[in-house]
Structures are given as C-alpha cells and as structure tokens.
C-alpha cells in the first residue's frame, strides 16, 4: 500500500519541542493577542469602554517592556498535541511539555497556580505543573502543539447540559444565553465562547474546549453550524454585558461551535469560555 510517509519516519527530539513550547508560553503570557485588539477596541462605545481600552494598551506595553505577564493569573496550561503518522517522539510528550511549563514559569515572573491534592490541606506545586495534555494521532505529517493558557475565572464558567434528544436549537440557545447572562461578567468579558454539541458528555466538553482554539472571525466549514455561530454571536452580544462588565463594547469576541454525531437518546451540549486575553497559540515541528 502506497502513501505519505511510507516507511520514512522522522524522529523529533524532546529538546527541540521543549524549546519551541517554552518560547510559545512566554509569548502567550507577555504579548497581547493581535487578533483581539481590533474586536475589543476597534469602535469605542462609551467612557468606560474608552478608559479600559487605554488601560489594555498601557498594560500590553508594560508587559512587553518589563516582561511582566498581561494577567496575574498565568493559568494552567492545556495542550492539544496532534501527532502525524510519520513522526516518532523521543519521550512521552507530557514529560516534554511539563518540563517546558516548569522552566518558563520558574524563569519568568509568572504565577504558580497549581495545588495538590485538590481538596484538603493542599500544597502549591511551585512550578505550575502538572499541565493537561490531549494527544491525537492524525493522518498529517509532523507534530503540532496548540497551547492554551487558561485562567481559573474563565474555567469556572464551563457547563454541560444533557438535553432531551428532542430539544430545539432555541432551547439550547436559551440555556447558553441564560448561562452567559448570569455568570459571564465574572470571567473577564468580552468572552470567547466555545460550544460542543453532540457526542458524549466528555466529548462535548472536549469539543467546547477545542472550539476555543479557533481563530477569531473564522467560521465553521459546516453551513448550518456557521449560521448557528453567527446567530449566537449576535444574540450574546445583545446581552450588553460589555467590556469588563460595564455594558459598553462587545460582550463576546466570537462564538465557535464543534459538533459530533450522537446516540439517539442523548444530546449533550457543553460550553466553555475564554477571557478577552485569548492566550492561545500553536507551534509545529
């Protein structure tokens, strides 16, 4: 059987991977996501909005100049690793990624936010590990790693509903709207909203998280999903939570939806949100 990569495997050194991921994590914490500013401050709606935009610019400038993180919550780091069919990794990838996180969080003035055990008298792990790693084997070539620096305030808005399989799109939209209306102001709006529809409870949540990796402004290639994303984008922006919750400027930066087939009795819908910093980036080797 012919095909790409037949018999020719490429070995990827852990040190090369580590170096790239280290640089990426440094950038994500120190540099304002260029996709965000235009959507956030492109048109200013009021005095509060204007003041906050001045602060965002000053903050970005100080962060870059002084190597201080944009936000004190330098998050936990979640990695999405896609391993193509032609590569062999030198060691289990979670080892490499944990090392990269440990090194960059120890060397820069970031925050160690991980504690263990999760309940009771927990201790800080003092290097922001462990990190969370999802690995997917793909048909592609090489390895690509997407990192998401995720703050606790936005993670706390994650939600899962097990709808009746007969639920309408309207019922789903209402649940999502209610959720963002009641809690959206806590997670540093304008938010990036990720939604997973279908699959199982766990894959719906995973899709919602993965939807946050999409570029702002990019639409789903599936026409009905793309229309749904646009509809929710307009609807959630009508909530007028606004920049920093002050009712001026956008409430959501974008909405992304991923879908999967489902069992006839089951309709899971999950939502995950990201704060306005959207600290997502990718490297490949």
């Amino acid at each position: 059987m012919g095909g790409r990569g037949d018999g020719i495997m490429r070995s990827i050194r852990a040190a090369d991977l580590e170096k790239k991921v280290y640089r990426l994590l440094k950038e994500l914490n120190l540099r304002f996501n260029p996709q965000v500013m235009e959507r956030l401050c492109g048109s200013v709606e009021g005095e509060y909005h204007q003041y906050f935009c001045e602060l965002f610019r000053k903050n970005a400038e100080i962060a870059a100049r002084a190597s201080l993180p944009l936000c004190q919550d330098t998050g936990f780091v979640e990695f999405y690793v896609e391993v193509g069919r032609n590569v062999v990794l030198e060691e289990p990838v979670f080892k490499t990624l944990n090392r990269a996180v440990s090194n960059v969080y120890m060397e820069f003035p970031f925050r160690y936010s991980m504690v263990d055990p999760p309940l009771g008298p927990s201790k800080n792990t003092k290097d922001n590990t462990p990190t969370f790693v999802h690995v997917e084997l793909t048909e592609g070539e090489g390895v690509s790693i997407t990192a998401h620096v995720k703050g606790g305030g936005s993670e706390n808005l994650t939600a899962l509903w097990m709808f009746l399989p007969t639920a309408s799109e309207e019922e789903i939209n209402n649940a999502i709207e209610d959720h963002i209306r009641s809690k959206g102001g806590r997670s540093c709006p304008p938010l990036h909203v990720g939604i997973g529809v279908g699959g199982s409870a766990d894959t719906a949540l995973f899709m919602a998280k993965r939807a946050l990796l999409r570029n702002l402004g990019e639409r789903s290639p599936i026409p009905f999903v793309a229309r749904w994303e646009e509809k929710l984008f307009f609807r959630l922006n009508k909530l007028k939570i606004g920049v920093q919750g002050f009712g001026e400027g956008p409430t959501v930066l974008d909405v992304h939806i991923l879908t999967q087939p489902r069992h006839i009795a089951v309709l899971p819908v999950a939502v995950a949100v990201d704060c306005f910093l959207c600290r997502v980036g990718r490297v490949s080797l």
Binding site: E47, Y48, Y51, F52, L55, F56, K58, N59, I62, A63, A66, S67, L68, P69, L70, C71, Q72, D73, T74, P109, F110, R111, Y112, S113, N124, K126, G152, G153, N156, G185, R186, S187, C188, K240, G242, Q244, G245, F246, G247, E248, C275, F276, L277
Partner: protein
C-alpha cells in the same frame, strides 16, 4: 460623565458613603490582599476562638493573588480575582471592620444587603491589566500564611490605584445608564 474621586488613607465611612455605583476612584494607601484559602483560614481561626494574625479594622481587602515579583520590584503582576467565590466570607469581614472589598465581577444579592446594612462598598478593579496595576503598587509584604504561596495574606501600598464602585454603601449596584 464618569465621576472621579480620589481616596487616600485613612479610610472613613464619611468618604465611602459619598460614593455611588459607577464612580471611578483612584485609591492611595494600604490594602490587604487575600483570597479564598486565607479567608477560610481566618474564619476557622475566629470560630475556634483564636486571635487573627492581623487586625482588619478600617482596612480595604483586595481579592487577589499576585504573580512572582522580579528581583528588586515591590510586587509582581497583580489583578482582581472573581469576588463571587468569597461572598460567603463577606459578613465575617465586615464584622471584623473591613471597610470595602475589591475584586472583579458581579456578586450575589447578599452583598447588596450586607453593604446596606454595614454601609460598606464593593469596588471592581480592571482585570487582565496586571502588569499595569503592578506599576501602581509601591510596597508589599507578606503578613500571614506565607505557606499559601500566591494565596498568602499581603499588605500592599498602592498609589492612584484605579477602581470602580460596583455596589455602593446603600446596596445600589452599577447599571449601565
């Protein structure tokens, strides 16, 4: 027009009661930084009849946990964390004499009631601008629970630290006009 008010320590009820939801405040003075774990510990010390490691009377509490500081800098990146998680400790803080709290995001109706009852204020600080806010902090020291790392209780001194009144001393909440 946003109303701008400068507040300098000592913090008095007279000044805080004049604030209205939506006002912008530049705060200068000392602020106690503490969050979830530290408040849980303080409450259990108090309930167990022990003395607290610091006096909270007349203080302003900032719900925050700073990042590490660079060598020579007074503090690392600092910014507010979600206040709603700590609503359950607010009555305790007010009973200890805390004058105001600073955090991010809306809070439960309980906070409106408590603010009115005790005539205290809830401010929000801008979030996601922690490098900028660090430049408004002049001094910082850990005063209790050092083992909690970023969650230790700190006393910081801020200068022109930007805040907005979210729930004022009459229980009124900011609403966009």
């Amino acid at each position: 027009m946003i109303k701008n008010i400068d507040i300098t320590e000592p913090y008095t009820s007279e000044v805080f009661e004049k604030l209205r939801a939506g006002d912008r405040v530049l705060l200068t003075g000392r602020v106690v930084v503490m969050r979830d774990s530290a408040q849980r510990r303080l409450l259990s010390l108090c309930e167990g009849g022990s003395n607290l490691p610091l006096n909270l009377k007349g203080t302003v509490v900032f719900y925050a946990g700073p990042a590490k500081e660079m060598a020579g800098a007074p503090i690392g990146a600092i910014g507010p964390t979600t206040s709603a998680r700590m609503d359950k400790y607010l009555k305790f803080l007010y009973q200890q004499g805390v004058m105001a709290t600073i955090g991010k995001g809306d809070r439960s109706e309980l906070v409106e009631t408590l603010n009115k009852e005790y005539r205290r204020v809830y401010f929000v600080a801008p979030s996601g601008v922690a490098a900028f806010l660090a430049s408004r902090v002049e001094r910082s020291e850990v005063v209790a629970f050092e083992d909690l790392g970023p969650e230790a209780i700190r006393l910081i001194e801020v200068h022109d630290f930007p805040l907005f009144v979210w729930i004022d001393a009459f229980g009124r909440k900011y609403r966009h006009p």
